[in-house]
Symmetry: C2
Subunit: 403 residues, 2 copies
């Protein structure tokens, strides 16, 4: 081309910048670095034997190799309807939409719900992938504070009141929240708060996107009801995924949503990728229908529960007192808050020099705050590396804080 | 929800309407209908045995079950670099981007290249999926006429001159074209015209999207060089897919593009679906690396070539003289033009009543024209059904034209 390529890029493309996190993560690629930065499941938790058993039959099914319907293959939607019923979510097959990972659900929901400058209500911090997906539509954010029990209901109410008072409610499109084992904050909303949140959303007539990738991964304590199971007014869009209970490489996830929204979603998805990989959808359907999933989730919980314990015990031993964190009951992450004067972006090179890494927490703040926070993943590293890595990280944090 | 759901939809969502085609296609779902309406490959052309052989090894590879990089798995990108070299396209692995079907490439290219009201140069008719994908960005179209040898170079030049004369060249983002076995028109650009098109695009500094899903499916005549192989100024974005040479259910496709564009594409794709199904990417890589693909393409060509012959012979026998069509040399479609006073949407119910179906051609016209056209697919129906279906269609067309 004679003209520079950037002259051809759209305004949205020009807003896509090389992310600081991605650049920082490049520093962690050396094999000697113990990385708590990723968000990867552990291959030890992949049901390889079951996949071996299921796959030949799926290859033998012509439908699994052909284009599928945009909504998702009927066998998988049917199996998910049954599974949702076990979580006290009653829905029809028509309410279930298969997506190419939950990331795609977030992207398409952003497209079909958001005009530029529309308002999203979410937690502070919130999931980075959601910020990226919604970012295409140039939204504004209204941020709700969290404590060790996740969403502070009084703050949610104050935000909603304020939005209505200033007449912004017409631009408010939804409340995006990960109620169970929050990414990045690790915290879970208890049942009482869930009911209060539903009441508030009923009162203020707010659509909810309940992102639930980790709900099955509880290593202690009692299951909390899904917001969707408490939804009496068809206002919850529920998202979950096979990435953490089967394998991420299949790229299959699902959404449970009001019929009218699913219809619009399908029209958009058709233009986006025609359909999700049919081959892996059929493997997922068999995995559910053969009853493998619950048995396998027990195995995953055993592995990850142990890893979480090792991380929390190591943190208790090696981390400076000034590092604050809530102990999660499940999921994949521990969220750490350092004293206000510490900037986790600035200290990152110093930390990586000691061959250990985290994700800088500010990436999860749509308002650019949280500079003193970091997210630690405990599912991917080996047990030994978790302990060694936390020791390294604790030591370098001690040094930094003593300066 | 208390407020109607449509109050929450974005402007782009409100523009997504239930398509006439989709509604018409519902009429064709009865088992007794012989449908030429789809665009499906034939399951007889799926390399099931090779997939059986390859898959166990892929399941045994942890990387194939894990999240992959947004760019695509290295093994597949490496294999595609080699394959592109056999088509006289020299590129680096960095120029190759894996996508979730070519549909996703079109969607993301639309996002990163188009602002609302930007101008797309394309053929008339053009690929429906491209119109849908680009539609999110609300573009304008400048349409180039085709004859039995595809793009009329003089018309392309006239369009470009006009665009420049009226100062619209800054809004012109690319020329979108399917040079080989055009969908829907079936026609192929000969080498001489390809060179002239490249010269024109060099002169007017126009980016080209070369969509090549069917290039390998030639049943007669001589291969024509890819536009990308004639590209001396890095202005061609090349798209191709495994959907027609392996199976569509794997949802893997690829793009060869300038480095700077791939970088932007990756940032967008990360927010769209994180990565394409890694599992099927590894199967695709093995399919290429084991050398299965060229052998299997011969088998596909044999099956589809025969089906095309049956369709063309049956059309010669049963179609009324007033139905005009160019005989394709490959691909999946025959494109039919009826007399101007016939509207293929209007006669559709009458045709389906005779248990045969086509796709209405006007769907492929961004300007709403082409009301007298239809597209016929010859790859999916059985040999017997092709003959029987064309006979039925010919008979009903005779009846309609004789009225």
């Amino acid at each position: 081309m004679k003209k520079p390529m950037e002259n051809l890029f759209s305004d949205s493309a020009n807003k896509l910048k090389v992310s600081v996190i991605r650049e920082l993560l490049k520093l962690t690629l050396k094999p000697e670095v113990i990385s708590f930065a990723g968000g990867l499941p552990n291959p030890d938790a992949f049901p390889v034997q079951q996949i071996h058993e299921i796959t030949p039959g799926v290859i033998g099914n012509t439908n699994a190799l052909q284009y599928g319907t945009t909504e998702g293959v009927p066998e998988l939607r049917g199996a998910l309807k049954k599974r949702m019923a076990t979580k006290n979510v009653k829905c029809e097959v028509e309410n279930i939409q298969i997506t190419s990972g939950s990331q795609q659900a977030l992207d398409i929901l952003g497209r079909i719900l958001l005009n530029p400058n529309d308002l999203i209500l979410t937690t502070c911090p919130t999931y980075l992938g959601a910020i990226q997906a919604f970012g295409f539509q140039d939204p504004r954010y209204e941020l709700v504070d969290m404590d060790e029990h996740s969403v502070i209901v009084e703050d949610l109410e104050a935000r909603l009141e304020d939005i209505y008072k200033r007449g912004d409610n017409k631009r408010l499109k939804f409340f995006y929240v990960t109620p169970t084992f929050h990414n990045p904050a690790g915290v879970t909303i208890p049942e009482k708060r869930r009911k209060e949140i539903m009441e508030l959303c009923n009162t203020y007539d707010v659509l909810i996107i309940e992102d639930d990738p980790y709900g099955e991964l509880r290593y202690r304590g009692k299951d909390q009801p899904l917001l969707k199971s408490l939804d009496t007014e068809d206002r919850v869009i529920y998202l979950s995924t096979f990435s953490k209970i089967l394998v991420p490489g299949f790229r299959i996830a699902w959404m449970v949503a009001p019929t009218e929204l699913v219809k619009k979603f399908v029209m958009a998805k058709q233009a986006v990728d025609l359909c999700t990989t049919t081959f892996t959808q059929y493997i997922g359907a068999e995995y559910l229908n053969k009853g493998h999933v619950d048995q396998h989730i027990e195995k995953i919980k055993e592995i990850y529960g142990r890893k979480m314990q090792i991380m929390l015990q190591s943190m208790a031993e090696y981390f400076p007192e000034e590092a604050e964190y809530a102990e999660p009951d499940g999921g994949m992450f521990v969220w750490v808050r350092l004293p206000e004067h510490i900037n986790t972006i600035e200290i990152f090179p110093q930390v990586v020099e000691k061959n250990v890494a985290y994700v800088v927490g500010s990436a999860f703040y749509p308002n650019g705050k949280g500079l003193n926070t970091m997210r630690l993943n405990f599912t991917h590293p080996s047990d030994e590396k978790i302990e060694e890595g936390i020791k390294r990280l604790g030591n370098v944090l001690h040094q930094i804080l003593e300066k």
